[in-house]
Symmetry: C2
Subunit: 737 residues, 2 copies
């Protein structure tokens, strides 16, 4: 009974009891992890029918045929990440998995024999191996094939599936040899052998538990499955379920951001599917209100025009076509049959050779895809969903737009010091951008392909983002632990016919300074356009210098104030915290009420930020690239609005997309901004923004009442008119020409 | 007989005599310019058949329906270019033309009546008009509707076609009124009224002769046609045929470059087609060995990945889908039936509503397109084709590549001081680039949308290109007249299985300095790659500083020598001739034999220029943007190889595309250059380049014998091997691993 001792929730107790009883009595059928014997029957039929599945099969077969024509190479582990033996063992597990699939589908034993022979070579070598010579003692548990146990666990995730796929082609003695000399000690090394990783509620733990748990199914070791699910001591303090509890928010948001979320997804989806096939009664996909499916869906939602929003350490070209999300979408479609996933699968343009992959392929062959619905949504951050939020606002008025607002948690070691930052996208492109990670992945000449020094000295710093920097110091003074311990608050979020609005604040990024920002993506259907409204409110207990950078993508077109350019010589803007990487290209001090900066993006549209400055702000124009001896940084443009010696300041602005530059067809439309007036006022909790644009007069009203529960229809007076506001956001046409 | 007096060529005399006799007896059928009555019959049938033609018709009809629902506006001319009355009269001629087409196809008289009513309004206004108030007395002849006569001529080209299309819907008195009060005085004003433009061998003259000539056909004035073809005095010194003689090279190259060529094409193609329909016996499309068709074809050849090569004053986004070339390709297909033109038409994705347009649409509907063949070719420059050449080299080995080499003429006022420059393209992108024009077309905030001051101070200057600058002074010291008077020489050009090679030289760009360059795009099928070989030879009568810039598109990845970056402060590289616009980002003095600079392009490939420097050259790394107070310039990267105090120097280098950066799929291949050896030697006229790349050893041999006539198979010794060279270029594998 000791294995049930940790179960304290009576409902869970019954379910798990049932599960354990069932799993003990199960005969190990093969294959039965992600792919089942049933799947294989349908897949075999499909490969002879012209279509996407058959093409994918023949494509992979051709590739495997080429690879198995080469001699098997299982080198003694020697090199660290990127080195020869490291890369070879990575290739081997992928190849064994692929050959296993081809064996099951073609029923041609040569593929099984190839996998068998490679496994036997591993079985011969493995018992002799000590921990890897390139291990790093301090930071991580070592592997034996690989320098870090993460890769070791990934090896097992693939290899146990490959073994499962070819099991029926093995003799009893081969089974004995491979299981006893390789798979069992391998799984034990990754579980009992390194509890600190196996029990850790962290992506590395997910890979380890997924590998060991799947080995439990294949080798008929239900105890291993239990330990994978509930921690080595089955206390539930660690393990796969705890990871599902802790690593995702209730809506399925992973707090390192989408770049790492899609990576983390892979072992969750793989093991989840294996659990479901072996023990459907565990209802793993319903666990925590279906958090696994939500995590897949959220990853899709966190993209624009096929690419993930590049928050935190993110390489910008990563998008929905990454292999991890292809697996995720395949499983999600298999479980839900939602034709919106087919839209994404179509864009991914890769078919997985699995039972779910077959369903996707056949549905796509029948043109069953429906448009996937991208939504305006606030993803609560943290495992309770209450540690701030990542907010996405979308609009289709005047083109496909997205606004990302980040009153979200730090996101661990890969997080950036960018509380309350934003990004804006229009007509397919980044317009107000985030630098992402400073890294050239796997490019040896660029710092070995690792994160560049400039990732720390620039990309993570606050000034590299579109949010307030106080006294040229980054949020939390650049302290990750402090950042992880202090999340912002999402004050409210609402999306309705008028657009989407959200507010967030944080009082811990700087001592004695309250940062509060309200952003709205407002529809103006009268103009077939939107505007992005930004009110950034800073209150401090003493005077500070406040900087609000805006990093824009494009060519500066005009400013409506004198810009004194540094034409002869450029110097760095500052000494540290990212400022040392910015050349000061010029500056201006607009004396008027409204200050405009316009730029032209590669998408052929113009963008103007109109700021309500009342002569109070200085504009510093910057280019990234100072103190960059190895030309590691992209030389992108920005401007910083600055005020000095302020205890309180509001940065108020409107971003307006406009016009079209079409040199190919030789026309240019509306190259100039049409915003001629912005007035900001408050009536209690009501924020009122009067906007004059294209000779029309609009009033944007936002109810900022903190308590959502008491939010109700509200009547107020403006310019001798009585207006009614339902919900948080409305737009009134004051003077419709 | 006076109208034949100018004909001195007896062959021409007979042809023209025949033509005049015929044209005198012709009944004016309508329509009969670009579109004939016969065309209309087939077009009417086609609009009811589903397909591209019908779609194009219904698309245009919808647009015209919206426009003719508005009141007719024919304002008194008042504004200059870009102003209201200017734009309105431009819209009017396009609208009349479109409505005329829709009338012919729909046979719905409301469209004819719309055109009639607008013409009557013009007829009422025109007799009262003086020359335009915004005329510029010095530079150009004025119009009446427009400030310059160019626009006036374009108005007539469209309007005379519109009139021709609706002629049969007019009463005799309407014909009388429109012809007497508008079209006749209009045509006379553009011909007799301004001989200096009408007779000018220049694009403005082409528009004027096209308009007046077509009016001659429609109004049954054969004399006008004669004058349009042969000059007002019918001497043949000016006129359309002289323009065909002078403005194009024998191969159909227009010496301002493709950006202006496609613009110039429009009146040539339009009037050419009208001549052919009215007087086929003139064989206008066979004139000068078919130069008109060659001009259309050459315009296509002068593109890469859909965009024109941006030489001289060119806006980079212009490409083969510009409306002028859509008309050109349509006519070319109509005349030749060559299915390669359908490939281009498919990419243009626009159907012209004409007889030829119908042929294109029907052929595309039948999927009859064949791949258009882009060639390696040297387009001789100048009307005799002997004033240098514009050279295009192409290869498909390892991907779609093009290399442009420019030992071409100055190209008049829009030409750049860039003798012997080059550009290189690979996998769809610019790799070694030309700035093109500094201009934001029609963007009022950017210097009224005109050429920016930086077009002169930077974009035209030699340092903005990829060719040698002597003593920081531009070619011809920036004097356009001197440039126009002195073209380079094309020494040779050859394309064969080994690749393409060309050599050019010029002795007049600087006094006492001979510039000679040999460029080759060399196929290395053994490596599934190419390399671009560059040998730039400078000989002078006294010592000079020699700079060879290379403007690259991408992010610097590495150099194999120490690069001392200016990390704290940037200064401009020089004071004038474009140098004042370059920030000096850093420099290095490679001490070794081979100096490498590698960059990563957005297409995900790496490029390394390996220069044979033997410790003799300094590398200056630059970024465009200094002395640019209005942020008008794009901040692009480059490096300049510099030697000082030299009477003779050879800049020798190899450009090598390599590898792939794929962060989406998380792999990077071959990020480092594989060139490990370059040796250059000569045996008499033979240039021998030994290249060690990817551990293989190649010998590239080039026969530089000036006299092509005496070029024959040649045997030579290298490394104790006897090798034979047929033609100019060969590659020998010395050591194939």
């Amino acid at each position: 009974m000791h294995c049930l001792a940790h179960l304290i929730n009576p409902k869970l107790l019954l379910t798990s009891l049932f599960a354990v009883l069932l799993s003990c009595s199960v005969h190990a059928a093969h294959p039965n992890l992600v792919i089942t014997d049933n799947d294989v029957q349908s897949m075999r039929q499909a490969i002879d029918v012209q279509g996407r599945f058959s093409s994918a099969y023949h494509g992979l077969k051709k590739q495997v045929d080429q690879q198995i024509a080469q001699p098997i190479t299982v080198p003694i582990p020697k090199d660290g990440g990127g080195g020869y033996t490291h890369e070879r063992h990575k290739k081997n597990y992928q190849l064994m998995y692929n050959a296993g699939i081809i064996y099951q589908l073609s029923q041609d034993k040569q593929y099984a024999h190839f996998v068998r022979d490679m496994l036997l070579q591993y079985a011969e070598m493995y018992p002799e191996l000590d921990v890897h010579p390139k291990r790093k003692v301090k930071s991580q548990n070592p592997g034996k094939l690989f320098w870090q146990s993460l890769n070791e666990a990934v090896w097992l995730v693939y290899t146990i599936q490959a073994y499962d796929l070819i099991h029926d082609a093995l003799s009893a003695s081969e089974v004995e040899q491979i299981e006893q000399q390789l798979l069992r000690p391998f799984a034990l090394f990754l579980s009992e052998g390194q509890p600190s990783t196996f029990n850790k509620v962290h992506n590395h733990g997910t890979w380890a538990t997924a590998g060991v748990g799947m080995a439990g199914y294949v080798l008929n070791e239900p105890e291993w499955v239990e330990k994978a699910l509930y921690d080595l001591d089955k206390s539930g303090k660690g393990g796969f379920l705890k990871q599902l509890d802790e690593l995702f928010s209730p809506q399925g948001y992973y707090n390192e951001g989408p770049y790492y979320q899609r990576y983390a997804l892979m072992p969750f989806v793989t093991f989840g599917k294996a659990i479901n096939n072996n023990e459907p009664q565990r209802n793993i996909f319903e666990y925590r209100d279906g958090v696994l499916l939500k995590a897949i869906d959220t990853t899709i939602q966190l993209s624009y025009n096929g690419l993930f929003f590049p928050i935190n350490d993110a390489i910008k070209s990563k998008g929905i076509d990454t292999i991890e999300l292809v697996h995720g979408v395949t499983v999600a479609y298999g479980l839900t049959g939602d034709p919106g996933y087919l839209d994404i699968a179509q864009k991914q343009d890769q078919i997985i050779l699995s039972g779910d992959g077959l369903k996707v392929a056949q549905a796509l062959d029948k043109n069953a895809a429906q448009p996937y619905q991208f939504k305006s949504v606030a993803f609560g951050d943290g495992n309770d969903g209450k540690q701030g939020a990542l907010v996405i606002m979308r609009s289709q008025v005047g083109g496909d737009q997205a606004l990302l607002f980040k009153p979200a948690g730090q996101g661990l070691g890969h997080g950036h010091f960018d509380k309350l930052t934003w990004q804006y996208y229009d007509h397919g492109n980044e317009i107000v951008s985030d630098y992402g990670a400073a890294r050239f992945l796997n490019v040896e000449a660029k710092y070995g392909g690792r994160y560049l020094p400039e990732n720390g000295s620039y990309a993570k710093q606050t000034v590299a983002h579109n949010t307030v920097v106080v006294d040229e110091i980054s949020h939390f003074d650049g302290n990750v632990d402090l950042g992880n311990a202090n999340a912002p608050t999402l004050n409210y979020f609402e999306t309705n016919q008028y657009g989407t609005v959200a507010s967030g604040e944080i009082h811990t990024a700087y001592q004695g300074v309250e940062l509060k920002r309200m952003l709205a993506l407002v529809n103006l259907p009268e103009l077939e356009s939107t505007i992005a409204l930004d009110v950034f409110d800073i209150r401090a207990d003493r005077q500070h210098q406040l900087d609000l950078p805006l990093h824009y993508q494009g060519q500066l077109i005009e400013t409506n104030f004198a810009l004194m350019a540094n034409t002869k010589q450029l110097s760095a803007l500052g000494e540290k915290n990212g400022y040392q990487h910015l050349w000061l290209k010029g500056q201006g001090k607009p004396e008027q009420e409204l200050a405009k900066v316009s730029w032209l993006n590669d998408n052929g549209r113009f963008y103007t930020q109109t700021s309500l400055v009342n002569g109070n702000e200085t504009f510093l124009f910057t280019q990234i690239g100072a103190n960059d001896p190895n030309f590691n940084l992209r030389n992108e443009q920005g401007f910083i609005r600055r005020v000095a010696n302020k205890k309180h300041h509001q940065f108020i602005s409107v971003l307006e997309p406009h016009g079209e530059y079409n040199p190919s067809k030789e026309y240019t439309l509306d190259a100039s901004s049409k915003v001629t007036g912005i007035e900001y006022s408050e009536q209690g909790d009501l924020a009122l923004i009067r906007l004059v644009i294209a000779d029309r007069e609009f009033l944007i009203a936002i109810n900022q009442l903190p308590d959502a529960e008491s939010l109700q229809s509200r009547t107020f007076n403006y310019q001798n008119k009585t207006l009614t506001l339902n919900g948080r956001l409305a737009v009134y046409v004051l003077n419709n020409q």
